[in-house]
């Protein structure tokens, strides 16, 4: 076992109990992150690990960090993750079959090798000095101690981090912000356009897509009475992106009526 640290803290026994309960849970949850199919589940498990870590922080006299971990990390950052997951598609699930040849064995070997080597190395590490514990450093209170460091010794990094935050914010803006290039048409203008358009057919609004029940059909054009697709029935941007499905594949004549119902 590792020789680098002595027993620390006065509350050795309860801490050990806590550790041996939460530690394995953290590892299992982390492993679960790897193994579950759905990204949302991964996120939940991630949050779980983070909370356990917060408890560990508090147990190790890092109260401030523990709280920040819960509030900022688990609370804000993970929520951001979940939010994006919603945006991307909450149902999206990974197939866990490996598609890149040879990667799976490499990953497994890496997992075992890396973990094994780390553990083995840590077992050999010696520090050569006494572990001191934080009672002295936290004498004025953990938050105060950190604050003192943060605003004196590390004040410059602290200031720089603010620039980093601005960078991040601006970066997100660049990627997400849509600058209008044209003036948004008013309701009035839209109405005029509708009624004074090329044909009067547009006056009643565009036809809705998706005439086939067996499909969600946002991306399938509606059929006009003569059986031809109505081009305006699908959102223009879908069309532009080429995400429009070919209505022919849903042609009734090609559907095998023998088959009962799709699940």
């Amino acid at each position: 076992m590792m020789q680098l640290a002595l027993e620390v803290g006065q509350t050795a026994q309860p801490e050990a109990i806590m550790f041996w309960i939460l530690g394995p849970m953290a590892v299992v949850a982390a492993l679960g992150m790897l193994l579950v199919k759905k990204a949302v589940h991964s996120a939940i498990l991630m949050a779980f690990v983070m909370v356990i870590l917060a408890i560990f922080y508090i147990a190790q006299d890092a109260v401030f960090l523990g709280i920040v971990q819960v509030v900022v990390y688990t609370g804000a950052v993970m929520m951001l993750f979940l939010f994006i997951l919603m945006l991307v598609g909450v149902d999206s699930s990974d197939s866990l079959t490996e598609t890149i040849a040879g990667l799976r064995p490499i990953a497994i070997t890496a997992a075992v090798g890396f973990g094994g080597l780390m553990v083995s190395l840590l077992g050999r590490a010696t520090l050569g000095r006494q572990a001191t514990g934080l009672s002295a450093a936290n004498a004025d209170g953990n938050v105060q101690g950190i604050a003192k460091e943060l605003f004196s010794t590390y004040v410059f990094p602290f200031e720089v981090v603010s620039a980093l935050l601005i960078t991040a914010a601006m970066g997100a803006m660049v990627l997400a912000h849509h600058q209008r290039t044209t003036v948004r048409p008013t309701q009035r203008q839209l109405s005029i356009n509708r009624f004074r358009g090329e044909t009067l057919a547009s006056a009643a609004g565009l036809p809705g897509p998706g005439v086939y029940a067996r499909h969600n059909a946002v991306d399938v054009p509606a059929l006009l009475p003569d059986g031809t697709p109505a081009p305006t029935s699908v959102n223009a941007s879908l069309e532009a992106r080429g995400d429009m499905l070919d209505y022919k594949s849903f042609d009734l004549s090609e559907v095998n009526t023998q088959i009962v119902e799709e699940k």
Partner: protein, 505 residues
């Protein structure tokens, strides 16, 4: 509890503060200045900021201080040299960035959408790249002078994040550009995690997150070195990732290719200076006494970097990818300067960084000039006969290639010579031999490009060379002049470096 108010030496920090201030003003410009005026204002502001910062660097070049930022930064000769190099590279890169042709008019618009077309027609520009560049430059400025792990990590992220973003802003081939941003980001964060993990172990080993503290532990450490070694290894992974050394190089070809060329130029040149600057400081001061442990490993990495970079570059068909692999090989060459661990190695590495950085920007600047109706042409096959159509571009590119190949009378030769002799002095014969060999391999593909440009008949496929804008021309000319002058009469610069390049601890 007593709290002593921090004392910051604003004079010594001024180059960085100017940059940060300029960047912040840039952000405000984005918010308050009309769209039409923004490009000019931003360009002027950015250039002004960089020049001012450079001026400040020049003025404080002789200063030495460990306490300029409460011990977070160290100001010394190498700092001034590296910062100066970064600023020079940034300035000539800005000329390229100013050519709006390279950036998407609207990053949020879907590729190929009507919205994008409209934005193009409206003449939109992503002027945010200017403040982003300034933020990146300030990160790069801090990176090599950071003297504790916190500062180092913050600077690392500070230089990386804007680059991740800017990599995705290409106007043409946007999917590829976004992909490169994603790859760069994911792998960059991955490497950062290693970096951080290593930092944790170094902290564990020494009980300090300052370089001074770690260094003292390395010298007089009790206990065994396991924690140090792990920490060193992981920290180094983060740094090696940034410089693109094998096997942490895999992002660079893809990102170099996908990113907008001006960004590639800036990133390739300036990041290398910053990252190698940091490596120099860390390995020359912090880890110097644990030399036995890292020299063999860095040597091995240098060797495989040189070989792999050169070998794979041979079969590249895309000029930007080829330059990427060439930069991998150059990372190997530069690592031999780290291995040297002597004054000559320090001087040589700084010289090499500057020379290589300038030539790289120049090289990519030429790449931006070769276009057809759909934007840049990076397929080498279509560079055939460039010498005929545009002697200016082709000759300049040939010059930069020759510099990369280390042909005498270019800066690359002096750089290679000095860095290899420093490494040889250290006894790293294998590295030097491999370096020489891979130079030969590298020469092969550099020369092939020259052959394509000068000795192959052009195919008429509409590949034209843009009449270079004044700014791009300036970039090419400045880079070419520097490359030549450093090749023919490097003495003043070498002396300048030799006199200044002394680390303080």
């Amino acid at each position: 509890m007593t709290f002593t108010a921090p004392v910051l030496s604003y004079t010594l920090l001024s180059p960085i503060l100017i940059l940060l201030g300029g960047a912040l003003i840039g952000v405000l410009v984005e918010a308050f200045i009309s769209k039409a005026l923004r490009p000019v204002v931003q360009l002027t502001l950015t250039l002004g900021t960089l020049l001012l910062s450079l001026l400040q660097v020049w003025r404080i070049r002789g200063e030495q201080s460990l306490t300029a930022a409460m011990g977070s930064l160290v100001i010394d000769g190498p700092a001034a040299l590296l910062q100066g190099s970064i600023l020079v590279i940034a300035i000539i890169s800005i000329f390229l960035i100013a050519d709006t042709e390279h950036f998407t008019p609207l990053a949020a618009a879907l590729p190929g959408s009507a919205e994008e077309r409209e934005a193009t027609q409206a003449g939109n520009q992503v002027t945010e790249v200017y403040p982003l560049t300034l933020f990146a430059v300030s990160g790069m400025m801090i990176f090599p002078i950071a003297s504790d792990l916190i500062m180092l990590f913050v600077a690392l992220e500070m230089l990386s994040l804007p680059l991740y973003l800017m990599a995705g802003l290409s106007r043409r081939r946007r999917l590829a550009s976004q992909e490169s941003a994603l790859k760069y980001f994911l792998l960059g964060s991955f490497a950062s995690a290693f970096f951080l993990f290593g930092a944790a172990y170094l902290y564990g080993y020494s009980g300090s997150i300052t370089f001074t503290g770690i260094r003292e532990s390395v010298i007089g450490g009790s206990g065994n070195d396991v924690l140090l070694l792990i920490g060193m290894a992981f920290l180094t992974i983060g740094l090696l990732f940034k410089v693109g050394a094998v096997p942490f190089h895999s992002w660079s070809p893809d990102v170099y290719q996908g990113a907008p060329t001006p960004i590639t130029a800036f990133m390739a040149a300036a990041t290398k200076v910053a990252a190698f600057g940091a490596m120099l400081r860390i390995f020359y001061t912090v880890f110097a006494n644990a030399e036995w442990s890292w020299t063999p490993i860095i040597s091995a990495i240098a060797i495989i970097s040189m070989l792999l970079g050169s070998l794979v570059a041979i079969s590249q068909r895309d000029v930007k990818r080829m330059l990427a692999y060439s930069s991998i090989a150059h990372a190997g060459f530069l690592l031999s300067g780290i291995i040297a661990l002597n004054k000559a190695g320090l001087d040589a590495t700084i010289f090499y960084l500057f020379a290589y950085g300038v030539a790289t920007v120049g090289g990519f600047a030429v790449v931006t000039l070769v276009r057809d109706s759909a934007g840049e042409v990076t397929d080498l096959n279509r560079w055939k006969g460039l010498g005929k159509r545009s002697p200016f571009a082709a000759s300049a590119f040939a010059l930069f290639l020759l510099a990369f190949a280390g042909i005498p009378l270019t800066s690359g030769f002096i750089g290679k010579f000095s860095i290899f002799s420093a490494a040889y002095e250290k006894g790293a014969t294998a590295v030097v031999i491999t370096g020489v060999l891979s130079s030969a391999i590298a020469a092969f593909f550099y020369i092939r490009v020259i052959v394509l440009m000068f000795f192959t008949d052009a195919v008429e496929d509409g590949t034209a060379v843009e009449i270079p804008s004044v700014l791009t021309r300036a970039t090419v000319v400045i880079s070419a002049v520097i490359t030549l002058v450093l090749g023919i009469y490097p003495a003043p610069v070498l002396d300048f470096i030799t006199n200044l390049a002394i680390f303080i601890r």
